[in-house]
Symmetry: C2
Subunit: 404 residues, 2 copies
C-alpha cells in the first residue's frame, strides 16, 4: 500500500513536470494562455535583441515617421479574417497597433492552408478565436475584441454599427479605421452602408477569383467615391471571363497575391494613421504582368446611398469653410494621386456596356476595368441599397460578385 | 490511507487529462512534434473543406496554370530566413513545393517580432530549426533540408555549392532555383559567385534600411546581368542619404514592405516554375509613393566575375545554335520586359558618379538608382571577386551595403 502511494506520488510529480514542460513549450515564461513575452508599458527605441519595437522605432531615426509611438493610440476594425484579413491583422499586431476589432463568422478549414496565417491544428475553430489566440501570443500589448458573427443580418448590423461607433481605444469613441477584407459583394455593401451613415473612413480590399489580381481602395465618405457610387473596379487579368464564373467550383487563391494585397493595404493604413508618404486612393495589382495602377475617383452626386449624398454635402461645406490656401491643397491631393505615374488613360469598357450602365464610368487607367455594370433603372424607381433591401438586382450582382 | 490513494489516483487522472489537452492544443490529432494533418500522396482538385490544395488546383480550371501538380517536382533553396526569407519559405510551403532547402545562421530574437512568421516563444532557437518546425506542421508534404551555417566561410561555401548542385528533389540533381533573402552585401556576392560558377538561375531580393522600399531581381547567368555586372539597384525613397548610414543604429523594418517583397518574389518564382504570366527581371517597390518600376539588364561583357563572362559566352553559343525563329523570341522576351509600361527613362545618377564608376551604368527608369558606384580600378589589376578575396574595396562596399 505504502509502495502504491509512493508510486502514485511519483507519477503525480512526473505528470506535473511534463505538464509544466508542455505549457512552457507553448508559451515559455508565462502562465496558462499567456503569450511568449511580457507586456511592454512604453515603446522604446533601444537597440537590443529583446526589444520587439526597435526596428519600428528606427523609422523615426530614418526620418520616415515622426512619432511612431502614436500607433498605440489607434483602434482598427478588420472585417473578414480570411486570406487577406488574417495577414492584415497580423501585420497590425506586429506593428503594435493599440486595438484590433475582428469580425468573421467562418471556421478555419484545411482548404484555407494555401494562404498565410492559419495552421492545420486550428481547423474547426472559429477564425476570430483562432486569430485572437495567435495574435495575442505574438503581441500581448495589443487589445483585442472579436465578434463571431455575420455583419449582414439586421441584428448583427446594428451591433456592428455600435462597435464601429463606440469600440475605439477609449470605449465610447469610434474606431479610427475600418478595413474590409471580405470575400463577397453583400458584406462589402454592408460595410459601405455603415461607413456612409457614420461618416467613417474605411479601406476596401479584394482579390480576384482567378487569384492573380487584387486591389485596395481608400474611401472617405463624401470625399472619395464610395462602393455604391460606381461599379467596383478590378484589375483586368487578360483572361476569358467565361472561365471565371461556373457553378459548383471554388475560387482559386494564392498566398502570394493575398500577401501582397494585405501588405499594400496595411502599408496604406500606416501611411494614413502615422502621416507619411502618399496615401493611395486606389492601388491595383496585376500579378500576371507585375502592373500596379493607381487612380482616384470623386463621389457620384447621384449615388444610390442617401448617406453618401449627405456626406458629400457635408464635405462641400467643410471645404467651403476652409481658407483658400487649404482648399487648393485639398484639391491638389486628389489630382496628385490621379494617374501620378503617367499611365495612359484608356477605357477598356465597351461602348455597349457604357450605354447599359448607370452612374459615372470613370476614366480608367489601362488594365483596370469595372467588375460589372449596373443595369439602367427607371428614373422614378431609384431605391437605396441597404442591408435589408436585397431585391432581385442586388442578388444578381451578388451572384456575379460571389467570392470576388 | 485508502483515501490518500484515491486522491492521488484522481490527481493522476486529472493531470493526464490536462497533459493530453495541452498536447492536443499544440497539435491536435497527432503525436509528439507531429503536424496538424496527414500527408497527402496526390494533389486533388476536389472542392471539399478538408483539401488543402483545392484553391491552388483551381488555378487550372481558371486557365492560369496548365499543370499545377508540377509544383511538387521542384526544389528551391532559400538563403536567409529573416523578414523576407521566412515568409518566402512559408508561401512556397503552403503552395506545396516539392523540397525546400533553408540556409541561415541567425537565432530568433524578440527584435524580429515586427516582421511576419516567427513567434515570441521561438526566441533563442536557430531560425532554420524554428522555421522547419513551423513549416513541417503547416505542410508535411514538403521535404525540408536545413543548414544552420554562414555560407560565406570557405568551408561552408563548398558545402553550400554541393547542396545547390546535388540537393534537388532527387539527390544528385541540382535545385531548380536559389532565392537570396539575405541582408548583407557579402552574402549576396557569395550567392552570385556560386550561381555564376554553377550556371544556376537565382532570384535576389532586398529591402532598404529605411524599410520603405525593396526589390526583386531574376538572374539567369549569361543571359541577364549578375550581381557583379553592375552596381545593385535600389528604389530611391526620396530621403536624405545622410539619415540612412550611422554607426551603432539598427535598420528599420516593416512587416508590410517585407511581406510585399516576399509576395512579389514568390509570385515571380511560381510564374517562372509553372510557366504563366510575365516573369519580371527586375521589379522595385517604393512604398512611399506606391510605385513599382520594372526593367531588365543585359550582362556586362567586362564583368569582374570570370564565370559570369564564361556563362555569357555559353549563352551566346546557345542562342546562335537556335533556329532563327526562336532567336527572335528569345530577344523579344527581354525587350518585352524592358520598360513594358512606358515609364520614361531618366537616369538619376549624377555626372560625377558616372565618371567615377566602372562598368556599364544602365538606363534606369525613374525612381531607381544604384546602391553605390564601384570606384574605377586600374586596367591591369582587374581581380575577380570571390569569397576569399575580400580586399579593402569589398569591405568598403560591405560597410555601405550593411543590412541593405
Amino acid at each position: 500500500m505504502a509502495e502504491s502511494v509512493e508510486r502514485l506520488q511519483q507519477r503525480v510529480q512526473e505528470l506535473e513536470r511534463e505538464l509544466a514542460q508542455e505549457r512552457n513549450r507553448r508559451a515559455p515564461g508565462s502562465g496558462e494562455g499567456g503569450g511568449g513575452r511580457v507586456r511592454i508599458e512604453k515603446m522604446s527605441s533601444e537597440v537590443v535583441d529583446s526589444n520587439p519595437y526597435s526596428r519600428l522605432m528606427a523609422l523615426k531615426r530614418m526620418g520616415i515617421v515622426s512619432d511612431y509611438e502614436k500607433i498605440r493610440t489607434f483602434a482598427v476594425a478588420v472585417v473578414g479574417v480570411g486570406g487577406v484579413g488574417s495577414v492584415t491583422a497580423e501585420m497590425l499586431t506586429r506593428c503594435g497597433i493599440g486595438k484590433l476589432l475582428l469580425f468573421d463568422y467562418d471556421k478555419v478549414e484545411l482548404a484555407n492552408m494555401n494562404r498565410l496565417f492559419f495552421q492545420p491544428h486550428q481547423a474547426g475553430l472559429s477564425k476570430v478565436q483562432a486569430a485572437e489566440h495567435t495574435l495575442r501570443n505574438i503581441n500581448p500589448d495589443v487589445l483585442f475584441e472579436v465578434h463571431n458573427y455575420n455583419i449582414t443580418t439586421v441584428e448583427n448590423f446594428q451591433h456592428f454599427m455600435d462597435r464601429i461607433s463606440n469600440g475605439g481605444l477609449e470605449e465610447g469613441k469610434p474606431v479610427d479605421l475600418v478595413l474590409s477584407c471580405v470575400d463577397n459583394f453583400e458584406a462589402r455593401m454592408t460595410i459601405n452602408t455603415a461607413c456612409n451613415e457614420l461618416g467613417q473612413t474605411w479601406m476596401e480590399s479584394g482579390v480576384s477569383e482567378n487569384a492573380v489580381s487584387g486591389h485596395i481602395q481608400l474611401i472617405i465618405p463624401g470625399e472619395s467615391a464610395c462602393f455604391a457610387c460606381a461599379p467596383p473596379l478590378v484589375v483586368a487579368a487578360n483572361i476569358d471571363e467565361k472561365t471565371l464564373k461556373r457553378e459548383g467550383v471554388c475560387a482559386a487563391s494564392l498566398p502570394t497575391t493575398m500577401g501582397v494585397v494585405a501588405g499594400i493595404l496595411v502599408q496604406n493604413v500606416l501611411k494614413f494613421l502615422l502621416n507619411f508618404g502618399t496615401v493611395s486612393f486606389y492601388l491595383g495589382y496585376n500579378a500576371m504582368q507585375d502592373f500596379f495602377p493607381t487612380m482616384s475617383m470623386k463621389p457620384n452626386p447621384q449615388c444610390d446611398d442617401r448617406n453618401c449624398r449627405k456626406q458629400q454635402e457635408e464635405y462641400k461645406k467643410k471645404v467651403a469653410a476652409l481658407p483658400k490656401q487649404e482648399v487648393m491643397q485639398e484639391e491638389e491631393e486628389i489630382i496628385h494621386e490621379d494617374n501620378e505615374w503617367g499611365i495612359e488613360l484608356v477605357s477598356e469598357v465597351s461602348e455597349e456596356e457604357l450605354k447599359n450602365s448607370s452612374g459615372p464610368v470613370p476614366d480608367l487607367p489601362e488594365g483596370i476595368t469595372v467588375a460589372y455594370t449596373i443595369p439602367k433603372k427607371q428614373e422614378d424607381s431609384v431605391t437605396e441599397v441597404t442591408v435589408e433591401d436585397s431585391g432581385e438586382s442586388l442578388e444578381d450582382l451578388m451572384a456575379k460578385m460571389k467570392n470576388m
